[in-house]
């Protein structure tokens, strides 16, 4: 779920989440009984769905692939929902507060082209070869070694990521609602384990669609009411320019000609090639967490249509994420009516208030942090230092809950909090259901027990969910006590995804790519990518070499590292393939473009044609980029 890491997370903000636990600030919101009823009904519903679907998850095809019975709409919504975690929602809203609509790139160019490519170009190969997983495709194309390597890395990533997400969400619940960490972790882990272990992928998908609707139902009010209060789009623009003395908050591309010209410190080449290609295509077309949802479609046309449907909704997500961040810039107020300025979590941490004395623990560090890392007015800084009532500091990542509290009373607040919990649970369910499939099909079955019965593998899948969640909980608590681990776990995805993309693309579109080349390319690509990460991690000054500029900021590292890792992997595969024996073309039927005769699509009316809808998405995508140029 840290697939496309929010800028605030990449910059280390959420990495300092454990530090927030030390704060004594009171919770942002107080739930009333109506809110608690709304949350309780949600938990009741997801568990009911799990029990209801238990009877329809008896065979391995039903449990791991949802019987391949999903319609395009269900697969498409689930595809988007599995990615719509609450940390992403809060992180990107915080990024929008910091950087303006530059953050939208992660929803538009960082998703839409890749989703269309998956649907129209890659899905036929995944679907026709009837693989159960992305590592399964690697097995068919490159052999056992590539499969085991990819599956091991993916399974590890899913479990650790699930643990980190669980812990991070518990911290958010503590900050927003004052809930204890253990309560949040156990409550969500119990519900997710129950409904996924009972109903398998079908239950995870059902709940993801439900969660998708709840996220919109709970979060949509904030931009609607915010826009009313801000005076519409023109009012918002006027207020932002007046407050921030800059109009760059409304431009997607205009200020990306140099690293220094935009607050995010990225260059358009990094956005287009690193984010728009290496990271985005890597995530949306090869990460099994999302691809699994589309593989569950009931026929090839539905499988192709699902990502296209998903892309419409993905394009709309900035409305409930980016817009609240921008609105927070001008609407959030301190108790005295002055504009409330949010700060980085490092500043919040430096200005922690002592629980025993009710005073700032380290006034020197707090003064320094506020002066160097914020633009808080001097008078307000003095109020913070004297711990005056009503002068709490809040971080960028809290902009979404702060906006929620601003507009939502009892009931609506419960709905908004339910949206956050639903976002978290859909991500976690995605992690554990994908882990269960990869563990059972790509590790347990080929390496430990090749001759088990179908019911045996279903049992292994169910058990792996329970064990996987238990390990996740352990990983979550480990992160709480060893904060540095979080950086590495969050980096796992970005280290792995670009080499995997190069391996799959060359395997899918180049018949000459040999078995050994695929395995070596993936292996050396991951090592290369991890080395780049560690190089910058050990000495942040090395970022200028990775991103090719001294003005580059941490966000640029992710996109450029992915780009270099992709190029390196592709080169290894190309060179090794030229010196090794390729597989006979006849063996590549159903796996490689040029060696496969795809089934002819049955003619359908234009409104059911995936190409027509993809063109429409493309036109809207281009229009939006021009509109917010």
């Amino acid at each position: 779920m840290f697939g496309l890491v929010p800028a605030s997370i990449a910059a280390g903000s959420f990495g300092s989440l454990p530090a927030l636990l030390a704060l004594s600030a009171s919770p942002l919101a107080q739930l009333k009984s109506l809110d608690i009823a709304v949350i309780a009904i949600y938990f009741g519903m997801v568990i009911w769905i799990g029990f209801y679907l238990k009877g329809r998850s008896n065979t391995s095809e039903e449990f791991f692939m949802a019987g391949r019975e999903m319609t395009a709409w269900i697969a498409g919504l689930s595809f988007v929902s599995a990615n719509l975690g609450s940390l992403e929602l809060m992180g990107w809203a915080g990024s929008a507060y910091q950087y303006g609509i530059l953050a939208t790139h992660w929803y538009w160019i960082g998703a839409i082209p890749a989703m269309l490519f998956l649907g129209l170009v890659m899905m036929p190969f995944y679907y026709v070869c009837k693989t159960h997983s992305v590592p399964g495709y690697l097995n068919l194309r490159y052999g056992e070694h590539a499969r085991v390597l990819a599956a091991t890395f993916f399974a590890l990533e899913m479990i650790l990521m699930s643990g980190v997400n669980m812990f991070a969400m518990a911290v958010v619940m503590k900050v927003v609602l004052g809930w204890s960490l253990t309560f949040s972790i156990l409550m969500s882990a119990f519900a997710v384990t129950l409904y996924v272990a009972l109903g398998g992928l079908r239950s995870a998908i059902f709940n993801e669609v439900l969660q998708f609707v709840l996220i919109w139902g709970g979060a949509l009010l904030v931009p609607i009411l915010g826009m009313i209060q801000a005076g519409g789009i023109s009012g918002l623009q006027t207020k932002i320019i007046a407050n921030m003395h800059s109009d760059s908050y409304f431009h997607l591309w205009r200020d990306t000609g140099s690293f220094a010209a935009n607050p995010m410190g990225v260059h358009w080449t990094g956005i287009v090639f690193g984010l728009g290609f290496a990271i985005s295509f890597g995530y949306w077309t090869t990460d099994f967490l999302v691809v699994q949802r589309v593989l569950a479609a009931h026929n090839l046309r539905a499988a192709r249509m699902a990502p296209v449907i998903g892309s419409f909704f993905k394009m709309a997500v900035p409305f409930i994420v980016i817009l609240p961040g921008l609105l927070g810039l001008v609407l959030l107020q301190n108790p005295d009516g002055s504009r409330r300025q949010l700060v980085g979590e490092d500043v919040v941490k430096s200005c922690a208030v002592s629980l025993s004395t009710d005073k700032i623990e380290d006034p020197g560090a707090c003064t320094s942090a506020m002066q160097t890392k914020s633009t808080l007015p001097a008078a307000y800084q003095q109020s913070v230092l004297s711990a005056a009532p009503g002068t709490e500091l809040h971080s960028y990542n809290e902009v979404l809950p702060l906006m929620l509290v601003r507009y939502c009373g009892p009931g609506l607040l419960g709905l908004g909090i339910t949206a956050l919990i639903a976002g978290f649970m859909s991500g976690m369910a995605g992690n554990v259901s994908a882990f269960s499939t990869v563990w059972t099909y790509d590790l347990y079955k080929p390496l430990l027990n090749k001759k088990g019965s179908d019911s045996h593998y279903v049992m292994v899948g169910r058990l792996s969910i329970v064990v996987g969640v238990a390990v996740s909980i352990g990983a979550g608590y480990l992160v709480q006590h060893a904060h540095g681990i979080m950086d590495y776990v969050q980096a796992l995805f970005s280290i792995f995804i670009a080499p995997l993309l190069a391996t799959i693309l060359l395997g899918m579109f180049w018949t000459r790519a040999s078995r050994i080349a695929g395995f070596l390319g993936l292996l050396f690509g991951v090592v290369f990518s991890a080395s780049l990460f560690e190089w910058v991690h050990l000495d942040p000054a090395n970022l200028r070499y990775v991103a090719l500029s001294e003005a580059a900021k941490p966000m640029a590292e992710n996109v450029f590292r992915a780009l270099w890792a992709f190029i390196f992997t592709a080169l290894v595969i190309f060179v090794v393939s030229m010196f090794t024996k390729p597989r006979p073309v006849a063996e590549l039927d159903g796996l490689v473009y040029g060696a496969t005769i795809l089934p002819k699509a049955v003619p359908v009316p234009f409104y059911k044609n995936e190409y027509m809808w993809a063109i429409l998405v493309g036109v809207i995508f281009v229009a939006l980029n021009i509109l917010f140029w």
Partner: protein, 72 residues
């Protein structure tokens, strides 16, 4: 959902209907009593009434359209 069984849309309808009704009723109570939660902005728009109403109507539509046993 393809095949037999209760469609996911029915579950969604039930959930929205319950939520919408609860929020709508609370909004009406708030409006009639004139007691609004402290610190919440734009209470004059009576958001719980219209948003709860929208959710409940949408939920009702889905419950009726996708109720179990309804022939397509």
């Amino acid at each position: 959902m393809h095949g037999s069984g209760i469609p996911i849309w029915f579950f969604i309808g039930v959930q929205l209907l319950i939520y919408g009704s609860m929020i709508f009723v609370y909004g009406i109570y708030q409006w009639l009593s004139g007691i609004y939660p402290a610190g919440v902005e734009l209470t004059n728009l009576h958001t719980p009434v219209w948003w709860g109403g929208v959710l409940a109507l949408l939920g009702l539509l889905y419950v009726v359209k996708f109720r179990p046993g309804r022939s397509k």
